[in-house]
């Protein structure tokens, strides 16, 4: 089916107007490769990499074409005969194999980054112009990285957080990998917010990276390996939900059923696991006992940028907005094209800086038009990208970029101090 309904939804088609830069075009290219009409040459690989993987084409498609799955297969096939240039190979290896899957190395990364940021080394690096050696996209990113930490959520609050009041259910927190290095505070607040709403929260310490970056980059075998570890880590039958606070991770977890399809040992478990994955906003709104969120400083305007994977993968866009609307004293303003990718898309802003930059510029025109004091998101990648956007094309003094959870946490009144609960379990 080649009706083209997906074309207007696609950010790269919108930027270029070129058929090969559209979902319909990319699917045709994939099919041509599968049919042997076309070689999976470098141009083909480049075109596949040009795709943000935002999957805005999926909800737009009346025929229910699963573009995301096609893309993963295509990238996997490219990976099979890719000869990456040496440095790229090194970086990929470093990240995909040597860092992301390993808790201890992530912590090390967090500590080094933190040391770099706090020790004055950052000032030295910036001062000497050593950062100029890095590509501009990386340099920009370096500036907006939040304070990293070697201490993850478990180090801070332990592995079990009791519910406030009568427990509604026992849920597990998926803490993520990068999320827990750069945003471990947000993880802590997620747990606190869930506890406040009546959930007992467990944080299995043997969980690993979700594998989204691997799967999207065509490293399907590695993604499956990670999935197996996570399926084992969350096997506990008493857990009703696996809660995610990062759209990208959540969508990946929700696709374990598809990823492990055909795996003798894990297929069934994966389907069952996937059905229990839920985004934090959805769970809070759907079955939590919500505290009365209030704005302390009077009225503020708030807007929200969808995480593509949350919206298009998990099909959740209403819950975060409804939560924001519940904050007394805050008024929600919808940004034009909030449903359109911000250009972050995993590591896209580093690998495709030009297209990502164009997309971000358009995004910020809409964000600025809302005149909101808070720009909220539900995914670490989008959060960083929007910070970058505000810095480059906006006014950082007038617009704060925050995770929805952090925003709500700040407004939930007396926060339950959980550090006191200590390390349990």
């Amino acid at each position: 089916m080649r009706c083209g309904f997906c074309l207007p939804a696609c950010p790269t088609f919108r930027e270029t107007g070129l058929e090969p830069e559209s979902p319909r075009g990319r699917i045709a290219l994939m099919k041509a490769v599968a049919d042997g009409i076309m070689e999976p040459d470098k141009a083909f690989a480049e075109q596949m990499n040009h795709c943000l993987g935002c999957r805005a084409c999926e909800p737009a498609c009346p025929a229910d074409v699963k573009y995301g799955q096609l893309l993963e297969q295509a990238r996997d096939a490219i990976e099979d005969h890719a000869d990456h240039s040496l440095p790229a190979k090194g970086v990929r290896r470093l990240f995909f194999k040597d860092v992301l899957p390993h808790r201890s190395r992530l912590k090390w990364l967090g500590r080094s980054l933190s040391f770099y940021q706090k020790s004055g080394l950052r000032q030295v690096a910036r001062g000497t112009g050593i950062m100029k050696l890095f590509p501009p996209a990386m340099r920009e990113m370096e500036r907006i990285l939040p304070e990293a930490s070697g201490k993850g959520v478990v180090d801070r609050i332990g592995t079990v957080v009791p519910a406030k009041g009568e427990p509604i259910a026992r849920v597990a927190l998926f803490r993520g990998c990068i999320m827990d290095v750069l945003f471990s505070e947000t993880n802590v607040r997620t747990a606190e917010l869930l506890a406040e709403a009546g959930f007992e929260v467990v944080i299995p310490d043997n969980q690993v990276c979700c594998g989204a970056l691997h799967a999207h980059s065509g490293e399907l075998d590695q993604a499956r390996g990670l999935a197996r570890s996570n399926l084992d880590a969350f096997r506990d039958a008493g857990i009703r939900h696996i809660v995610s606070n990062a759209g990208g991770c959540g969508a990946q977890l929700a696709e374990y059923g598809h990823l492990m399809h055909g795996d003798e040992e894990y297929a069934e478990l994966a389907v069952e696991f996937a059905s229990r994955v839920v985004d934090v906003s959805q769970l809070l709104l759907g079955s939590g006992r919500l505290p009365a969120f209030t704005e302390q400083s009077g009225g503020v305007r708030v807007t929200y940028q969808d995480s593509c994977h949350l919206r298009n993968g998990m099909r959740s866009s209403g819950a975060p907005r409804q939560l924001i609307r519940q904050v007394a004293g805050a008024s929600f303003v919808e940004m034009k094209e909030a449903d359109r990718c911000c250009g972050s898309a995993g590591i896209y802003n580093v690998t495709q800086p030009e297209m990502a930059g164009q997309i971000l510029e358009h995004k910020m025109e809409h964000a600025n038009a809302t005149e909101a004091a808070y720009l909220l998101t539900s995914n670490p990648g989008c959060l960083l990208q929007m910070k970058l956007g505000v810095q480059k094309h906006g006014d950082p003094a007038a617009m704060k970029v925050m995770h929805v959870v952090d925003f709500l946490h700040e407004r939930m009144g007396e926060p339950a101090s959980l550090s006191a609960a200590g390390k349990q379990g």
Partner: protein
């Protein structure tokens, strides 16, 4: 393979970036919205102005290389599949709105502009451009003109041809032709404007169009009538027209269509109904009220199970948007979806619906039906599997018989999707041998070397009326 010297000249005209002959560009322009058709071009060119189009055509004429002009490739008749190779000329860069003349109520626009972008802009100025093909979010004005597209409002407002006042077009030899203008009346010679509308890129390349605008209707109401009986729904359509009411929109969806559309749009449509009618009336609010009430009574007399009026503008728009997705949504059912476009006089719509059912049963194929019932334009759509050659063969037999039934009832083989490659073998059924001869004469006058969209409209051979395999 293209002559390298010719490719060089094309690059010189449009710039290095806007001529492509790599595998990626070829594959991405080898298809359109039509299922089961694909053919690679030798190159793709993206002109930016009439002058460039003219220069390109001079080069192509010199080398006798065929050219397919292309909007968004959303047509459903194989109209932009380069069946004889050559060059695909993509009009997307020529997408400017050149002028809105508020005194004459006209707009002058380049062909690559997306239809929905055009109508949105026009509506923001307090004016109205009625043609609204379901593909309007992707289709281009140039594509609409070349296919003479109709839409949900065709019944009351007519189709694209009723809104094209003047054209600028480039002929096969590169010369520039101007027809019509901002005139409401013009009888100077043959009507070349109307001739180019619906000519499917076979006579000239349209590079600019002057379109008629009208004042927008003051009010609008949307209604859903639901039926346990498909025939009752179809009869309602004829009865509404008989009662001299012309709604703005009068669409029919049968049960399989209702289900798939609801799977996509999640509107909570009545999945147990055999058919629904989507009815809109616009105009003076009082007249709208009156018409809607009269329509409701007719629906009830024809045993509608339920009749509901959309409460908000949003709700109404969702219903209309859902209807526009019907064709693609049907692809959820089986791997291959083949949509046809038979049209009958409005009084025969119920007969036609029944005939389609009978024919589908006779050949043991599943055919869902929806369409612009109010203007007699139905889209019987087969859900099948291209890998099952035997079943596809039966589908083709069924469609040939459906076209035959349409002509028997005083109808035609296509109401809006055009002839292209798909209907070419059937064209003579409708226009007769003398019709074909005149059309071929016109083609020769415009395009003596048959460079413009060759292989379209005219088939090598006409299908015999006794059904055989579609070549």
């Amino acid at each position: 393979m293209l002559d390298p010297a010719m490719a060089r000249r094309l690059r010189d005209i449009v710039g290095e970036k806007h001529f492509k002959d790599d595998p990626e560009a070829k594959v991405a322009h080898s298809y359109d919205g039509t299922p089961m058709l694909q053919s690679l071009p030798d190159g793709v060119v993206y002109p930016d102005s009439t002058a460039q189009v003219s220069e390109i055509m001079k080069v192509l004429a010199e080398y006798r290389v065929p050219v397919v002009s292309r909007g968004s490739g959303s047509n459903l008749c194989g109209g932009t599949v380069p069946v004889q190779g050559g060059i695909v000329m993509v009009m997307h860069r020529m997408n400017r709105l050149l002028e809105v003349d508020m005194d004459n109520l006209t707009a002058t626009v380049q062909p690559g502009m997306i239809t929905a972008a055009f109508t949105e802009h026009i509506e923001s100025l307090g004016l109205f451009y009625p043609p609204d093909p379901s593909s309007m979010k992707i289709s281009t004005i140039g594509g609409n003109i070349s296919e003479c597209s109709g839409g949900l409002r065709g019944l009351k407002y007519g189709t694209t041809k009723d809104y094209v006042l003047g054209l600028e077009a480039v002929l096969a030899n590169g010369e520039i032709l101007r027809t019509g203008g901002k005139l409401m009346k013009d009888v100077a010679g043959y009507d070349l404007t109307k001739l180019l509308v619906g000519s499917e890129g076979t006579l000239a390349i349209i590079t600019e169009a002057t379109l008629k605008l009208v004042p927008p209707p003051a009010g609008k109401k949307t209604m859903l009538a639901m039926y346990k009986d498909l025939y009752g729904a179809a009869r309602t359509v004829s009865r509404i027209i008989e009662n001299k009411i012309i709604p703005a929109t009068l669409e029919i969806l049968d049960n399989p269509t209702i289900r798939v559309v609801d799977d996509f749009a999640r509107l909570g449509l009545p999945r147990d109904m055999e058919a629904i009618l989507l009815i809109e009336q616009d105009g003076d609010p009082e007249a709208v009220e009156r018409d809607m009430e009269a329509i409701r009574l007719i629906c009830e007399a024809e045993k509608a199970d339920r009749v509901e009026v959309a409460q908000t503008r949003e709700e109404a728009e969702k219903l209309v948007a859902a209807r526009r997705s019907a064709f693609t949504a049907l692809a959820r059912l089986r791997p291959t979806t083949i949509l046809e476009d038979a049209t009958v006089p409005r009084s025969r719509i119920a007969d036609m619906v029944l005939r389609i059912r009978e024919i589908a049963d006779k050949y043991g194929v599943s055919i869902a039906t929806f369409g612009h019932a109010g203007d007699g334009n139905l889209h019987p759509t087969a859900t099948t599997d291209a890998r099952d050659a035997e079943e596809v063969h039966r589908v083709e037999q069924a469609f040939a018989e459906i076209f035959e039934a349409a002509i028997e009832l005083g109808g035609t083989i296509t109401g809006e999707h055009g002839v292209g490659v798909v209907k070419a073998p059937f064209l003579e059924w409708k226009v007769g041998a003398s019709g074909i001869a005149v059309m071929k004469g016109i083609k020769d006058a415009f395009d003596p070397h048959h460079l413009l969209n060759p292989g379209k409209m005219f088939a090598g051979e006409t299908r015999k009326r006794v059904v055989i395999d579609r070549g």
